[in-house]
């Protein structure tokens, strides 16, 4: 089974801190995603990556950056945490590329989520 592991379930950080959220997947998936989830807003895509060192902005990239140095690991970085970044962060991965019979993306596998509180 695919496993997507996020480094923390709960995290409390101070305003202005640099925050790293780590995500690791064990199924050699090409695609990896970071979403944030807020009540009434659903899941919003922050960044995604379709290959090592490749990244694309999602719908709400402001205040975030990402790093993908290895295929299995996708890190989300809050350069200077602010209270409006308090949220649930979800990492996901999916099979992409030529091996995917459904086209370039298929079902996504999610981590358990990181609930980040910025105080």
């Amino acid at each position: 089974d695919v496993k997507v592991t996020q480094s923390s379930r709960y995290l409390v950080k101070r305003t202005g801190e640099k925050v790293f959220l780590e995500c690791v997947q064990d199924m050699d998936h090409e695609n990896m995603f970071w979403y944030r989830q807020d009540p009434g807003l659903g899941l919003r895509l922050i960044y995604f990556s379709y290959d090592v060192k490749m990244k694309e902005k999602g719908d709400i990239p402001e205040g975030y950056s990402v790093s993908r140095e290895k295929k299995e690991r996708f890190s989300l970085i809050l350069e200077s945490a602010s209270t409006n970044q308090t949220s649930m962060y979800l990492c996901a991965s999916s099979l992409g590329g030529a091996f995917n019979p459904f086209g370039r993306s298929a079902e996504a596998f999610f981590g358990q989520g990181t609930r980040l509180t910025v105080v």
Binding site: F33, L43, S105, A108
Partner: protein, 110 residues
Amino acid sequence: SQQGEEDPQALSIQEGENATMNCSYKTSINNLQWYRQNSGRGLVHLILIRSNEREKHSGRLRVTLDTSKKSSSLLITASRAADTASYFCATDFGNNRLAFGKGNQVVVIP
């Protein structure tokens, strides 16, 4: 951004009843997927329906897709208390990303 939009937003039913949720979207898609999220957890994939399919079944789940109306429905038959969760539709526009709706909270009363 293009997103699926679920309707109704919240649903409360008795155990054993059927639950139906709808999802609408705005542009052409490669496939549409439904996910379940238990409280405070990550999302779990339930079913994927391709743009050239009209109906798909998986256990007690039935999904339909009407590309002319740009809508999909998820039916859960004979609901159980364990089906209490939020349900999301997600659309794949073929650009390597999934766009999720806001979710549909279902409460099944034992």
